[in-house]
């Protein structure tokens, strides 16, 4: 799953390295347009629907927080 998420991220922002240990939001790797694309891509790839209340910055700071959020929906 980690690889799939990294693949989605690198399609959205090809010029960025998402394997670095940084906060995606604070480092400016993802902006608001990217989040919209990311949410859509995650929903299609893993076939589930994210609740609006989960679309908050803290769930998108790293690949780990994304995985943790997906876990809440039973996506492993």
């Amino acid at each position: 799953m980690r690889e799939k998420i990294l693949e989605i991220l690198s399609t959205i922002r090809p010029e960025c390295d998402f394997t670095e240990d940084v906060d995606f939001m604070e480092a400016g790797l993802l902006d608001s347009y990217d989040i919209v694309s990311l949410v859509t891509n995650l929903e299609i790839t893993f076939n589930f629907r994210i609740n609006g209340t989960d679309v908050v910055p803290e769930n998108f700071t790293s690949v780990d927080t994304i995985i943790a959020m997906l876990g809440k929906y039973g996506v492993h």
């Binding site: 399609t11 010029e15 902006d31 608001s32 347009y33 609006g52 209340t53 679309v55 908050v56 910055p57």
Partner: protein, 509 residues
């Protein structure tokens, strides 16, 4: 009699010096302090030797600083041109070449990405590098304003142009007076508006919010741009500051509806919601209306060239999901002419024509661009007696049985995407001519998915990531296509031209 928007501000400052003018995260500023800061900016511009009626660029994110800098530019008797700090340097270069601003106001941090491309002739004011300790002679500043007339520009707003360089729409003071007078009269706005400001500073909506701040002591609550993707956070801020007025583009309102967030946030204070800039699907509008039955909703319509909006519809009846929301009736002191292909006036219901506008609201034209100005701002074909300019919007509309105007589509290749007016021809131009990524291509818009889609001819597929990387160097992010389709050969029409209509139909099946 008032001729400059700043005169409205002066009155407000006298009446409400202690009232909060701007809330920017955990900082606030009152009207008296905002006034002081604006005068400092004006005095600095004057000290630099800048004459009146000159464009001054602003390269800042939306903040307390951007608000007082905009007011300071007006105080100096000049006009502001706000620039998007996220726009690639190349595009900023094109805008600067066309407009040749006298000064750019920014900060040492924010100016970095464009520092190398700013021409030597442009003077800089970096807010964090100035001492701001000089005594300002307020009377000297306001004296300078006395020679301004109401047809002098107040701002330039840039909009997408098919040749790769944006067009700078020049708006004067008078047209803003016209619009805010209509707004205040029609919606009975008092001195208690708290505006949830989401639009970037380059949008005309932000300029309207500035006007309301000046005219009615409205409080502007900055909703940080980086939260735009997180509607739940935005709604939290609206509740926290008891925002009672929103003027938004529908994109985020659709997201909020699709995420069913109004079940979690009650927005009890919200009295008036305006939306404009693109079509708001009725289904998602109905979601808002049903959750906020006490709130007044109005659908506004208009291109930047007529100062904000020229028609409106206060929605006061149930509209079934499958029917479009009307764009309504002309605003007061604005005349709408619907003209058919032969410039005859259309008045029968369901007959389509181009929406044209007559009135004080018209822009002065496009900055340094007489050809484009002459093509869009034309003599009223129904008036042969004296010179009278109308603006041709390129929007196709019709009347319904009740005389309400219904938006049908565009004459050309322009779409509204995420609130931005986007000329698909400009994206094609960049991909094919500027970057030479493909030899032939055609951009169409998928209305349902809100996707800019590229069909291109190439022997081998080009990775989406590669397209995004290259195009992102020249165009802002909202203009980058999100769907790419390779073909050996693009469909051609009888004249041998790429059959755009075919692809348009294909993605909108």
């Amino acid at each position: 009699m008032k001729v400059s928007l700043i005169e409205l501000f002066e009155e407000t400052v006298r009446k409400y010096p202690e009232k909060t003018a701007v809330i920017d995260k955990d900082r606030t500023i009152n009207f008296a302090d905002l006034h002081k800061q604006a005068l400092q900016i004006a005095a600095k511009i004057i000290r630099l030797g800048v004459g009146q009626n000159r464009p001054v660029g602003l390269f800042l994110d939306k903040s307390i600083e951007s608000v007082y800098a905009n007011l300071g530019i007006l105080y100096a008797g000049d006009f502001y041109m706000n620039l998007d700090i996220k726009t690639p340097a190349e595009r900023i270069r094109n805008i600067l070449q066309l407009t040749e601003p006298a000064v750019i106001i920014s900060t040492s941090r924010q100016v970095k990405p464009i520092a190398a491309i700013i021409p030597d002739t442009v003077q800089m004011i970096l807010l964090d590098e100035e001492a701001w300790d000089e005594e300002v002679d307020a009377q000297q500043v306001t004296r300078r304003l006395s020679s301004i007339i109401d047809t002098d520009p107040s701002c330039i707003i840039n909009t997408s142009g098919s040749t790769g360089t944006p067009k700078g729409v020049v708006l004067n003071h008078k047209s803003f007076f016209d619009f805010i007078d209509w707004a205040i009269d029609t919606f009975h706005f008092g001195d208690d508006l708290v505006m949830g400001s989401l639009s970037p500073i380059v949008f005309d909506i932000y300029s309207f919010e500035l006007c309301m701040l000046m005219a009615k002591a409205s409080t502007l609550v900055v909703l940080p741009a980086h939260l735009a993707a997180f509607p739940a956070k935005i709604l939290e801020v609206l509740e926290q500051h008891q925002v009672n007025f929103l003027f938004w583009v529908p994109t985020i309102m659709v997201n909020i509806a699709n995420m069913d967030l109004l079940s979690a946030f009650k927005l009890d204070s919200l009295q008036t919601v305006w939306f404009a800039g693109e079509v708001f699907p009725t289904k998602q509008y109905n979601y808002w209306h049903h959750h906020l039955p006490q709130t007044t909703f109005a659908n506004l319509y208009g291109p930047i060239e007529i100062t904000l909006d020229c028609t409106y519809y206060i929605i006061n009846k149930e509209i079934p999901d499958e029917q479009p929301l009307p764009i309504g009736y002309p605003c007061r002191n604005t005349d709408i002419l619907v003209l058919d292909d032969e410039d005859r006036l259309v008045s029968q219901p369901h007959v389509e024509g181009e929406l044209c506008v007559r009135g004080t609201s018209l822009a002065m034209g496009y900055y340094n661009n007489p050809e484009k100005t002459a093509a869009a701002f034309v003599q009223n074909p129904l008036n042969k007696a004296y010179p009278e300019t109308i603006y041709r919007t390129g929007d196709i509309v019709c009347y319904d049985e009740e005389g309400l105007i219904i938006f049908k589509g565009r004459k050309d290749n322009i779409v509204k995407h995420m609130g931005y007016r986007t000329d698909l021809g400009e994206i094609e131009h960049v991909i094919i001519n500027t970057l030479k990524l493909v030899k032939n291509g055609c951009i169409v818009y998928n209305q349902a998915e809100k996707q800019i889609t590229l069909f291109y001819e190439a022997e081998q597929e080009i990775q989406a990531a590669e397209f995004r990387l290259q195009i992102g160097k020249v165009l802002p992010k909202y203009m980058i296509p999100t769907a790419f389709h390779r073909l050996d050969q693009l469909q051609r029409n009888a004249n041998g031209k790429i059959d755009r209509l075919f692809y348009k139909k294909q993605v909108n099946k």
